[in-house]
């Protein structure tokens, strides 16, 4: 340990203890309580009786309720499925973009890279709103499809699972392109050239050399898309219909609409268990592998 660790460690440690760890513990506590009409709107976990005894009021009813009502299970499943498909679409769309950037040179490369980053700097909310404009019944997408003669009557594109999907892919695409490009840029072009020189057809070079070597970038990008997509609130709220079920939106409604803090808290805890714990494990494993690799290959 280096000298003077404590001075540097203390401010962030205190900050994250108060504003991150403590709040999550409070949420955990509320998830065992009962909702009530009061301030704060949940019951205490322990209550002193008039005769000095202590009653233990904590219970698992909120979790039982979440498990028994199929609404919540459906919301979790549809969130996971939506996020998974969005991740796959992002992979498909990101590959040619990342390859094109990696193969470009000099100023063209910088320009292509900036063009991917620019939308990512633009307001997330406004980028999602843009799809609301595009997908209207009399919007641009329908106009193009009608003009091309692909359809005769405007499609109901907005407020559908399709709209949510396209919104997520659009909003998170840069998160896939950037790590993928980074992985491609790190590749030694001599490897692919060697395969080509030895008579390997280009598609096989791609499948056996370029693609496997880009795997770390694909994993990193997929996590960056999948994780926030599962908990997404804005996109299903703006582009999904009234009955679009995603768990982030269900939690929001439970909290702001029904004012049921304990159920919202239990949903938050289950979300952490379902999404964050596996990802954290995966990441620490990937981190170990990476540090192992870089230790092995460092010159």
């Amino acid at each position: 340990m280096m000298r003077g660790t404590r001075i540097f460690l203390l401010p962030p440690l205190l900050w994250f203890g108060v504003f991150l760890l403590a709040p999550l513990l409070f949420v955990l506590r509320i998830s065992f309580a009962t909702a009530r009409e009061a301030q704060p709107p949940y019951s205490p976990l322990l209550e002193a009786d008039s005769d000095g005894g202590i009653t233990f009021l904590a219970h698992l009813d909120n979790y039982r309720f979440i498990l028994s009502d199929s609404l919540y299970a459906d919301a979790y499943l549809s969130s996971l499925a939506t996020a998974l498909f969005a991740t796959l679409w992002c992979l498909l769309i990101a590959w040619p973009i990342a390859l094109a950037i990696a193969r470009a040179r000099g100023r063209a490369q910088a320009a292509l890279l900036i063009l991917v980053i620019l939308p990512f700097w633009t307001s997330f909310l406004l980028r999602v709103y843009a799809w609301k404009v595009l997908l209207q019944g009399n919007g641009v997408v329908n106009a193009i499809l009608l003009q091309l003669g692909i359809i005769d009557t405007p499609l109901a594109l907005l407020y559908s699972p399709f709209a949510v999907q396209i919104g997520i892919v659009y909003a998170y695409l840069p998160f896939m392109v950037l790590p993928l490009y980074a992985a491609l840029a790190r590749q030694d072009p001599a490897l692919a050239e060697a395969a080509l020189d030895l008579g390997c057809p280009p598609w096989r070079v791609f499948l056996t050399v370029t693609l496997p070597l880009a795997a770390p970038g694909m994993v990193a990008g997929s996590l960056l898309v999948f994780v926030p997509a599962v908990g997404e609130f804005v996109i299903p709220e703006l582009l999904g219909g009234a009955n679009s079920l995603m768990i982030g939106r269900v939690l929001w409604t439970e909290f702001f609409g029904n004012r049921d803090w304990p159920v919202a808290a239990a949903l938050a805890i289950t979300m952490l268990l379902i999404v964050v714990v596996p990802v954290a494990l995966l990441q620490s494993r990937a981190g170990n592998m990476q540090s192992g690799n870089s230790a092995g290959t460092s010159r």
Binding site: F19, P23, L99, G106, A110, I114, L126, G248, V275
Partner: protein, 266 residues
């Protein structure tokens, strides 16, 4: 050659996908009609409406204020956090500390927002502070998640930097704080600027967490935009979006020129 054409076509389609929505917003922001999707000739009326919208200007001012304070605070916290993780090897509780610093990157926004609101309500009930939720609580919440991003940037930069200069300063008798301030921090300057900008833009963009921790008195720009576009389309928001996109594009062009210059210098 044929492969190149296929790749460029697919990449071109990808870029078209990225820019079609943005282009649409820009074009329709100049629409004279009250109804967004009905074209009625070119006009700047929504831009002048934007500049006369008092609640929108108030929200923009609040957002900039929160983002600026947040950027400084988050850069400070992220600098210390990233420095400890990158340079101070193993210490007791390192795992927990690293986990706390990484958590805001993977915990869903709705969960972060809910947990911080619960914290502020609990503090208010037991300590009487914060008196009201608004700019202060939003800033505290933003500092928590954006400092985690700054810490990542700082850590990445420190991993590239040789620790020898810092060790030399310590060996020559500088106190740890002195070595940190006069050696590490100057070396980190580019990462700190990048981290500051990142924290600033994360704060400007946040809707979910601000909605949870704000009170009735404070509305940030994303909260205002969200309440406008939730139920329908708004030509004024198209104009706002266009202005923001142009500002970002101008910044991007400057960055591109700087990058290009850096390249030729080398």
């Amino acid at each position: 050659m044929k492969r190149h054409v296929t790749l460029l076509t697919l990449a071109g389609l990808g870029y078209a996908f990225l820019y079609l929505p943005i282009a649409t917003l820009i074009v329709y922001s100049f629409n004279a009609s009250d109804r967004v999707m009905v074209w009625d000739g070119w006009s700047l009326r929504w831009y002048s409406a934007l500049l006369q919208d008092a609640s929108l200007l108030r929200a923009a001012a609040l957002t900039l204020q929160v983002a600026t304070v947040n950027a400084f605070g988050a850069t400070f916290l992220g600098l210390l956090g990233g420095y400890v993780l990158a340079r101070h090897g193993r210490f007791r509780g390192r795992g927990v500390f690293a986990g706390m610093l990484a958590a805001p990157l993977i915990v869903p926004e709705v969960v972060t927002g809910l947990s911080l609101l619960v914290l502020f309500v609990t503090l208010q009930d037991s300590l009487g502070w914060p008196m009201a939720r608004g700019a202060t609580t939003i800033t505290l919440a933003h500092m928590t998640f954006s400092s985690a991003y700054v810490a990542v940037v700082v850590q990445a930069r420190l991993a590239q930097l040789d620790g020898a200069l810092e060790e030399a300063a310590l060996d020559l008798g500088a106190t740890p704080v002195r070595a940190f301030l006069s050696v590490t921090v100057p070396l980190l300057a580019p990462a700190l600027i990048a981290g500051w900008l990142l924290a600033f833009s994360l704060s400007i963009d946040d809707l979910v967490i601000a909605s949870f921790v704000s009170g009735p008195a404070a509305t940030t720009l994303p909260m205002l935009v969200f309440s406008e576009v939730r139920l329908g389309l708004s030509p004024e928001i198209n104009a706002l979006a266009t202005l923001m996109i142009l500002a970002v594009a101008a910044l991007g062009t400057v960055a591109l020129l700087l990058l290009g210059r850096g390249r030729t210098d080398r």
